[in-house]
Symmetry: C2
Subunit: 401 residues, 2 copies
């Protein structure tokens, strides 16, 4: 039995016409001899609409009931998609997470998949050509519905592919993974192959092609991922553990721009691990995401910089002031109007000089670098917003992206 | 443990405000010491919207997938209602038919309940004050979702009350059961008590207060039914097996008017059981509902009259012509513009003369009676439309309704 998992995102299923078009694609796959497990997201903006509905009933919706509510979105999609498939003569049936036993942890609104009743799916695939399964949701030990958090349908699809030992195709409104955002740099190229590691860095940098938990899972179990558009016939991108040998590994595989960054600098705090930890602890408690942390100790004092998203300035100021209450001489500076530009590439590991080329290009764009963070396969710099797009273009040219 | 089943219809849950108002009513019941099993219908017009959505995907939606789709409507309601209850400090949880194991037959879109896992509900009621359960839906032996057909939520509620041996309260936008439609006769009175049998006749006559399967079930297991409005505090109507002894049993408990009736007369057909059966068989196959059948045999010929709803005239003509093809001398007459006026009352059984008073009143209204059908507790007459409302008023006055 040749099995494939296909996942279709919300925009791919946004209208009755789109649902029929997706059904036709699935039918073609079946005609090629495949049995398909199709994972569907909620149609278009359904999830957002359900969240709004809950908020109009109560300001603080109970998470268990929120999951009960949100999981209807995917159930609507799978029922309609199975109808469309049957209408086209395909033997298809839809199932929700309770029926297919997608077992998760107990964390409502952000559960993790722990097991799937794969024997049931294999039995169902003997009687049917297509099993349409609700993405994004699962069931905990008490039999309550759970959801996996934003983008969780990707994870559902990869988890099914892991359990069925088969490849996984992710269809969305994006036709593959590019070297950088084509809207910002029209010369951007599409990767035919890219490694899990590169995608993970690109995803966390804001290139929202694939949900990062899904890529991690695919990497862990070496599931072959393919992402393409459900709106066109163009070839997409294969996400793999290692690039094919005939393909020369590029040093840098992508560059990205994250806007609306706020730089925070706290100077002259005591260089005391307990105080520094306390700052980050309190900031996390205030639900503020911290990025690009940089710490410079000078004698018994320390200079601490990091970035936060726009909109949290007031809350950060209150938090830091309360954390450092009673201490003297420290100073807090918060400045808006920055972007984070990054280059990513597994090839960087074995290729020195990328940082130098990157900095030189940024300086050519006229951009002063305010903060730098690096990982083994990524370098990110914080620069003033006005230089962002020019810098991205020059970086894309420099690294032939 | 004092348990009550409450059912709230679609219009009672149509908006976030209505949901919060219903939650407040449920909370008051809990404060009186009750554990409540609340059955919820889909919000407002949700079911119709889902049917339209399915029809825009395919003209002929698969019934299994239709049930998978429609059952999301009630799941949205129960999640929102449980949220509203928790928000008001009530220990509540929502469950769908898969979770609560409402087992049904296999007939998609018109399944019948065969069992409910009542031990599970009792366990859940120990930990919670309110269990909110999806009405209208169940699960068949294969674990597929089924639905019970229009108005099925009433049946869900009564079935739960049967299994829990407790009373059942049905809330809707109607504040009880009246002697006749108050929109047609402002003097209509609300019953405080009425028998199952009278309600069954009234329901099938078009007074859509309660779903008839629900009333049959309540009658079979002597479940005390109470119907009232969720929009007001007015006392509703108790539906019982026998009226309280102190209450003098009225002879006639209600009168109703069914509009848009078409009279069909087939004269001079052979008085042959096979031919007559064939007519009704073929008409049923053409999906035409036949009512008020009257047959007069004259020698070896028969005169057959019955009524059908408006809109089926052409289809009926084609059917009868094809059934009687080859036979001679028969004649088909189809005439529109009639209404069916009925009086109902368990008391009729022991009280002669109701028919005479009814006919006399109709004649006082100037209405010629075209067809008559009677049951033990009901008399219906077909009269021309123009006399309908006047006749209803005079009948209501005659029988003090």
């Amino acid at each position: 039995m040749k099995i494939v998992v296909q996942k279709y995102g919300g925009s791919s299923l946004a209208t009755p016409e789109r649902i029929n078009s997706v059904a036709t694609r699935i039918k073609r796959k079946v005609e090629k001899g495949y049995k398909a497990v199709v994972v569907a997201s909620a149609m278009g903006k359904t999830t957002d609409e359900l969240i709004d509905l809950a908020r109009s009933v109560t300001e603080d919706p109970d998470p268990r009931e929120m999951d009960m509510l949100l999981s209807t979105g995917e159930q609507i999609s799978v029922a309609l998609l199975a109808m469309a498939l049957k209408d086209k003569g395909v033997k298809a049936r839809s199932y929700n997470a309770l029926q297919i036993e997608i077992k998760t942890t107990d964390h409502h609104t952000s559960a993790r998949i722990v097991d799937i009743n794969v024997d049931r799916i294999k039995r169902l695939l003997k009687e049917n050509d297509v099993i349409v399964v609700t993405g994004f949701q699962g069931v905990n030990e008490s039999g309550d519905l759970t959801t996996l958090g934003r983008g969780g349908s990707d994870t559902s699809a990869v988890a099914l592919a892991v359990k069925l030992s088969c490849p996984c195709e992710i269809y969305s409104d994006v036709d593959g993974i590019y070297t950088c955002d084509p809207r910002l740099y029209p010369g951007a190229k599409k990767h035919k192959y890219i490694t899990y590691d590169d995608v993970l860095e690109l995803t966390s940098l804001g290139a929202k092609v694939l949900h990062s938990r899904a890529v991690e899972l695919a990497k862990k179990y070496s599931v072959e991922l393919y992402c393409a558009s459900s709106f066109s016939e163009e070839e997409g991108t294969y996400v793999v553990g290692k690039l094919p040998e005939w393909l020369e590994e590029p040093v840098v595989t992508g560059t990205s721009l994250d806007k609306n960054q706020v730089k925070v600098t706290i100077s002259n705090v005591p260089n005391d691990q307990r105080i520094l930890s306390k700052i980050f602890e309190d900031v996390a408690k205030a639900n503020i995401n911290v990025d690009m942390i940089s710490l410079v100790p000078v004698g018994n004092k320390a200079f601490l910089s990091f970035t936060i998203p726009e909109g949290f300035e007031k809350s950060l100021k209150d938090t830091v002031e309360s954390t450092l209450e009673g201490l003297e001489d420290w100073n807090l500076e918060i400045s808006k109007g920055f972007v984070k530009i990054s280059v990513v590439g597994v090839g960087m590991r074995s290729s020195p000089g990328v940082a130098a080329r990157f900095f030189k290009t940024l300086s050519k764009a006229g951009a002063h670098v305010e903060l730098v963070t690096t990982s083994e396969i990524k370098i990110s710099c914080l620069i003033p917003e006005e230089f962002g797009e020019k810098a991205l273009r020059l970086v894309a040219e420099e690294f032939e992206l």
